[in-house]
Symmetry: C2
Subunit: 375 residues, 2 copies
DNA sequence: CGACCTGTTGACAACGGTGTCATGGCCAGT
DNA sequence: ACTGGCCATGACACCGTTGTCAACAGGTCG
């Protein structure tokens, strides 16, 4: 300690008098992580720091000769800009925050993978966080991403109002899978009511009158939309909605299993099931197999691994994570530099989905012994 | 240098003379993202910036009264430290980089989800990146994470030497799923040879002599270990390894399907299959179903969704992503503050795995018509 | 020929924190 | 009472980059 510093003047005795690196010994624990700085580049090229910065950012008003000299210096030092410094000074960086229910969820992992590769191609990295479907946590996470100066965020909102404009402080956002309610933001979703309508009609077309609806309890537009499609299809077929068949408390695979058992044990049991999400289907399919009831028809909203290999194979609505992610990445990038900020797409963007018949959706309803007589 | 010295008059005329905020109008495009700064906190508490910083970091030598005043000020302003500034100055931040083959892969998404929640609990966020199993990209990605001053990185290395100590520049690293070769780093893996040995023995115990090995072509310790276990089990049973049955070119689901067809079409066809990864099993199972060959025995290294629901259910080695992730997070955290850096675990950490019999692994070998007569 | 641009370039001050060292008060040791 | 040491605190530089503005060169125009 108490090294040179014989003069009580100049507190730090920084690197200005000295060249530079000799001081490293003093702070033992400090990691040396960054390579050459822009200052080094500038020095090598014989220009000022600011000019080097201009070249780095393709700034205007740099002569061709200077530009080339600086670029050469960057090359030879294999310079890379420091994201933290840039972020601190410029107020934004090349990172996009991604917030989903859970990265372990089959749907969101595919979504995240596609987002990552699309954003990476545009030079952005992904900062990932799971909201666990908790609105509080979700808002915290988004705020923290915003404070980190993410260039933008992509969120699967746990509720339409979970994120407010104040939380974003101007950071561009794109919602995925579910509609969010922020001014000027785009939401990329699939046509939930429409596809649910088709799925239900598909089951009705195979003679079913007792179609159970399995859905999670969250009050999301997505969920509501799917229920609405289901109702509309029933209404058109002149079938009344039976509350005993609409099971809106399936929040995970095991509760889905329970609900399956219940709708099959009714006095007038379900002969077909419409499962509102692939996550639920992951509980429904094992349940049907376990109960030995593979004679029950099933359509799943959302494809899943092995859906094609179980016996019978599961008919699904292909609510493609990949397509949603692709559209979302494009929408967000349109709001980010080098594009015109504020001129990207807005509002609800629907990506197409389609029904994939594989077997379970085409199981015909049983003859219905005396019901017909009674009616 | 001795640059300005005599003062060529103050260049910028910054905010020092002025109060402050009036300048906002000038820079139109700049987002206002950060809330109150530590300076604001200090001012409100009536202490110096440095003292506020000390309170923020639980620094020593702060009187109780001062500490409380500062904390109160932080509360009332709802102050949050700026990660970029902290990272820039302190040389590290509360982010852990996670690099896996692909976040869309079933195994890695579960791994990532567990890592995220474990690290989040310790106050770290996750910066996620996929390597796509390309060594070059992997190294680039790791370097970029290091330059971002990640507190640490967790990597599923595409090869044991893909990452060097130079790339890390002292950043703590933990390898997952496959052994990496960096001094002082831990690698969390499962007991590949041992579990492969058990899996193969399990098949042999059910009478099989023609057991096919499906594996990817990568030259990883993981892959080699699993092959080694397979060989050892065969050797113990006095069975020679048949090159026609060892298929090491299965790099994705579709090639796995092809290889399944081939081993079943041999003159002396396989009666059992040992699939070296859940990714491959995702091709093998559909293939067997498609070919109508569910009489073929199968053990999969790695569990997967629906393995329990296909008919017959698939016997697996439960090479749990969750357990690996948990152990890896703990290992990394032990290398990070507030722990003693350099005193965390090192070397290879094996997490236990176990065989889960479900059906396909217990299918008995066919009587083998004339083979016995011939032999 | 001087006033006026225009196009390049550089000095300097931030961004929001943390490390280093100095300072001043208070107390124990001699 | 004097001295040295410890504690609490603050002044200041600095991390690596970009925004602001001044300065200066060379050309155009009246």
């Amino acid at each position: 300690m108490a090294e040179q510093a014989h003069t009580p003047r100049r507190a730090g005795e920084p690197g200005s008098t000295e060249g530079s690196t000799t001081t490293t010994s003093s702070s033992a624990a400090r990691r040396r992580v960054s390579g050459p700085t822009l200052r080094d580049v500038a020095a090598l090229a014989g220009v000022s720091l600011k000019t080097a910065s201009r070249v780095l950012n393709d700034g205007p008003n740099v002569s061709a000769a200077t530009r080339e000299a600086v670029q050469e210096a960057m090359q030879s030092l294999s310079y890379e800009p420091d994201p933290a410094a840039r972020s601190l000074r410029a107020g934004h960086d090349r990172t996009v925050g991604v917030v989903v229910d859970s990265i372990g969820d089959i749907f969101f992992s595919e979504l995240a993978a596609t987002l990552e590769s699309a954003l990476d191609a545009a030079g952005y990295s992904c900062l990932l966080a799971s909201s666990n479907r908790e609105a509080d946590r979700e808002r915290d996470v988004v705020r923290s991403l915003v404070r980190r100066r993410c260039a933008g965020v992509i969120v699967a909102p746990s509720s339409p109002t979970s994120i407010s404009e104040a939380d974003l402080a101007g950071t561009p956002v794109v919602f995925v899978d579910r509609v969010g309610s922020v001014q000027g933001a785009a939401s990329v979703v699939s046509d939930d009511p429409g596809m649910a309508y088709e799925a239900t009609r598909h089951l009705l077309a195979h003679g079913h009158r007792r179609v159970a609806l399995l859905s999670d309890s969250l009050d999301l537009p997505t969920t509501r939309g799917r229920q609405e499609g289901y109702r509309r299809a029933l209404a058109e077929a002149g079938i009344e909605v039976d509350p005993a068949l609409t099971r809106m408390q399936c929040d995970d695979e095991s509760s889905a299993m329970r609900q399956v058992r219940e709708v099959l044990d009714l006095d007038e049991p379900a002969t077909a099931i419409f499962s509102c999400s692939s996550r639920l289907s992951l509980g429904v399919v094992p349940a049907l197999h376990q109960f030995g009831r593979t004679d029950v028809a099933l359509v799943s909203f959302g494809d899943f691994t092995m859906a094609d290999s179980v016996q019978p194979a599961v008919t699904v609505v292909d609510h493609s994570a990949r397509r949603i992610a692709q559209a979302a990445a494009e929408a967000l990038l349109a709001h980010l530099p080098p594009h015109d900020p504020g001129h990207g797409p807005t509002g609800v963007i629907e990506v197409p989905a389609r029904l994939i018949p594989r077997g379970t959706g085409e199981i015909a309803a049983p003859p219905a012994p005396e019901q017909t007589t009674r009616a």
